[in-house]
């Protein structure tokens, strides 16, 4: 007897569930192509975790405009051909509203055309300038401009009366882009590059490279890479007795790199988003609240320090969410327009001001000049 009652209850419950499912609003499909494993996993890992966290948070509050978000993350392993295949899948089959990512510039450039053809919003977490320059209608990016980061460094160098530098860069897309921008902007800022070396992203010892730079009598070293080797560079440089200032890129924005470099990281100067020093910002800073919330949420959930890389994914997701809210619909054209007309959006990378000519939205003031003091990130010069 009890068995039969149980079955009836189950059937009723099932019917209710199905009914409830049928009545729920259609979810908003958002795709993400990230390099969760593979050579760019230090980018894709934090990005993927950030997105999952945000999607859960948004859905717990009932979704955007009453629609839950369905996040589809696909792991490309930094393989462009997978990025191409996934992009087509997400856009054509799953009919996502937007794609967040990819993590690397190489992959982004390969799917730029696909996003344009399929009229899907692409919010890239990769940094290369060519992604938004020349501007393509559907393609946006959230990381700051390399040229701005370099200008911040050059401004500081001018203050320190440094004019002869050595440049080291990794053989990744990020390193290549930075090197290109450094070489482009140096003459206009009165900086001469005496020596320049590109090293492999998996390098484990760069003593020979820094020795070459030291021998060229450079006043400062600029290292532009986003891989763990950036910690090895500063270690080796200090070990061979180089005492000049060492500048890093905004790729240094993860405390793990500081820990890895140990004492050698002290005094390194680099431009970065304000996420890393959120705690010591003045309360009047418009970004502080957003930064602290992201930092605390991420660290609580994943028991690891928040990094600027995850921050790019945060910005991509939240910009999309805000745009959907603003547009009041999930029509692709309307949401795209909403992004393009967004001004003053407070993200982790900075305060975004999009426009038809600027699909990145960040300028030089997105950067703060940071340094490392006692093993922690600190504002430089304060």
């Amino acid at each position: 007897m009890r068995g039969r009652n149980g079955i009836i209850v189950a059937i009723v419950a099932l019917a209710l569930l199905v009914g409830a499912g049928v009545q729920a609003a259609e979810p908003i499909k958002v795709g993400a192509i990230l390099a969760v494993t593979g050579p760019a996993s230090f980018l894709g890992g934090p990005e993927s975790r950030t997105l999952k966290m945000l999607a859960e948070e948004v859905n717990a509050k009932g979704g955007i405009n009453g629609h839950k978000v369905e996040l589809i993350i696909m792991d490309s392993g930094a393989n462009p051909e997978k990025a191409v295949s996934f992009a087509k899948q997400l856009i054509e089959e799953k009919k996502v509203l937007a794609i967040l990512g990819p993590s690397t510039s190489g992959e982004t450039m390969k799917i730029k055309g696909i996003a344009e053809e399929g009229k899907a919003i692409l919010l890239s977490c990769a940094a290369a300038e060519v992604i938004v320059n020349p501007v393509a209608k559907w393609v946006f990016k959230t990381p700051q401009k390399d040229s701005d980061a370099i200008q911040v460094i050059f401004n500081q160098m001018k203050k320190m009366k440094i004019s002869r530098i050595g440049v080291l860069s990794g053989n990744t897309g990020f390193g290549k882009a930075g090197k290109g921008q450094i070489e482009k902007l140096a003459p206009g800022n009165g900086i001469t590059i005496l020596a320049s070396e590109v090293y492999d992203k998996a390098s484990t010892d760069l003593t020979a490279e820094v020795t070459k730079l030291k021998a060229a009598n450079v006043e400062a070293i600029v290292n532009w890479s986003i891989v763990p080797a950036q910690s090895i560079v500063i270690k080796n440089a200090r070990q061979i007795g180089f005492i000049g200032p060492i500048f890093q890129s905004h790729g240094f924005g993860n405390i793990k790199y500081v820990e890895a470099a140990g004492v050698a990281a002290e005094g390194v100067i680099f431009p970065a988003g304000r996420l890393l020093v959120a705690g010591v910002l003045p309360d009047s800073n418009p970004q502080k609240a957003v930064l602290l919330k992201y930092k605390n949420d991420y660290e609580k959930k994943y028991k690891e320090e928040a990094s600027t890389f995850g921050g790019h994914a945060y910005d991509a997701f939240m910009i999309l969410a805000k745009a959907i809210e603003k547009a009041g619909s999930t029509d692709k054209e309307k949401v795209r327009d909403a992004i393009e007309t967004m001004r003053g959006f407070v993200g982790t990378g900075g305060v975004f001001d999009f426009s038809a000519e600027d699909h990145n939205g960040l300028g030089i003031d997105a950067f703060e000049l940071l340094t490392v003091k006692d093993g922690k990130f600190a504002l430089y010069g304060k």
């Binding site: 494993t37 998996a202 020979a208 090895i232 007795g241």
Partner: protein, 297 residues
């Protein structure tokens, strides 16, 4: 290039070279016992480093290293027992493919256990900026540890193979498996021991080198490639030669960046590998008899 610069390059070269040499010694031990080239050798190095870092959180450093080495040795033995021991006269292709597969699996397991971030043991003496200055040349004390411990390991290994019973049994097996069996030596056990020994040496190498180079779930692969370049350069099967060949390769690579862009540094080692294979596969110090491929089984 002045003398100081040249010597600094040499120091860098010796640092790399010792690391490659350690990996190559591991290759040679297994090769000698089995005729197999273990493509997963680099993974032993990586596992040693990663495990030691994890253990280092609640054990003092020497204990952490010791336990990490032991754990890796047990893993090496397990791999051999599970995947290699019961194969009957496998072809070379099969062996290569199996060890490649093992290398991939270990790597992916490491990724899912430890995540993608880099780890490092603390420097044994000093920290990341201490360096000893000799004239115009700077040497990190960790480099001295690496070279010193490696030298000790090679010496102990030599003594082990020459003077201990187990060592002599392993050498007998390497020289002539059937004859050794006839003498009552268990060839199968010798193979397991060789895997354990190789894993242990690799793991130790990973531990002592990690403060300088960091370990990451995929740091095994490039090490394996350089390692067997060095093993072949010195002559497969000849551990002492591989140490020398390691130094040679390390120094060549290091000096190469004074003439080539550093971006092509890794091309040097592979180019040397190909040249050696085409011109003199028995290596610089090997004999063509030894380089005749051993049979396994």
């Amino acid at each position: 290039m002045n003398l100081d610069l040249f010597l600094q390059y040499m120091v860098a070269g010796v640092t790399y070279g010792t690391i490659y040499g350690i990996v190559a010694v591991g290759f040679n031990i297994i090769y000698n016992a089995t005729g197999i080239i273990n493509f997963a050798q680099g993974e032993f190095v990586m596992l040693g480093g990663m495990t030691a870092v994890t253990l280092g959180r609640f054990l003092p450093l020497p204990a952490a290293i010791l336990v990490a080495v032991l754990i890796t040795m047990i893993l090496g033995a397990l791999l051999e027992i599970l995947f290699i021991r019961w194969l009957h006269r496998p072809s070379v292709l099969r062996m290569i493919v199996i060890t490649i597969g093992l290398s991939i699996l270990i790597r992916e397991a490491a990724l899912h256990i430890w995540g993608e971030s880099v780890r490092a043991l603390p420097y044994f003496t000093g920290n990341s900026v201490t360096s000893i200055q000799l004239g115009g040349v700077y040497i990190s004390p960790q480099v001295l540890w690496v070279v010193g411990i490696s030298a000790v390991v090679v010496l102990i290994l030599g003594g082990f193979f020459r003077y201990t019973l187990l060592g002599m049994q392993m050498r007998a097996c390497a020289a002539n498996r059937d004859a050794a069996r006839l003498c009552g030596i268990s060839a199968k056990n010798m193979v397991t021991f060789s895997f354990m020994l190789s894993a242990g040496i690799g793991a130790l190498g990973g531990c002592i080198v990690s403060p300088i180079t960091y370990v990451q779930y995929d740091s095994g692969v490039p090490l394996a490639i350089k390692g067997f370049t060095v093993a072949i350069l010195g002559g497969l099967g000849n551990s002492l030669a591989s140490v020398g060949a390691g130094m040679l390769l390390g120094i060549l690579e290091s000096l190469s960046i004074s003439v080539l862009p550093a971006a092509y540094k890794d091309v040097i080692s592979v180019a040397i590998l190909l040249v050696i294979l085409f011109v003199r596969p028995s290596g610089l110090f090997g004999s063509s008899e030894v380089s005749r491929l051993k049979e396994f089984g």
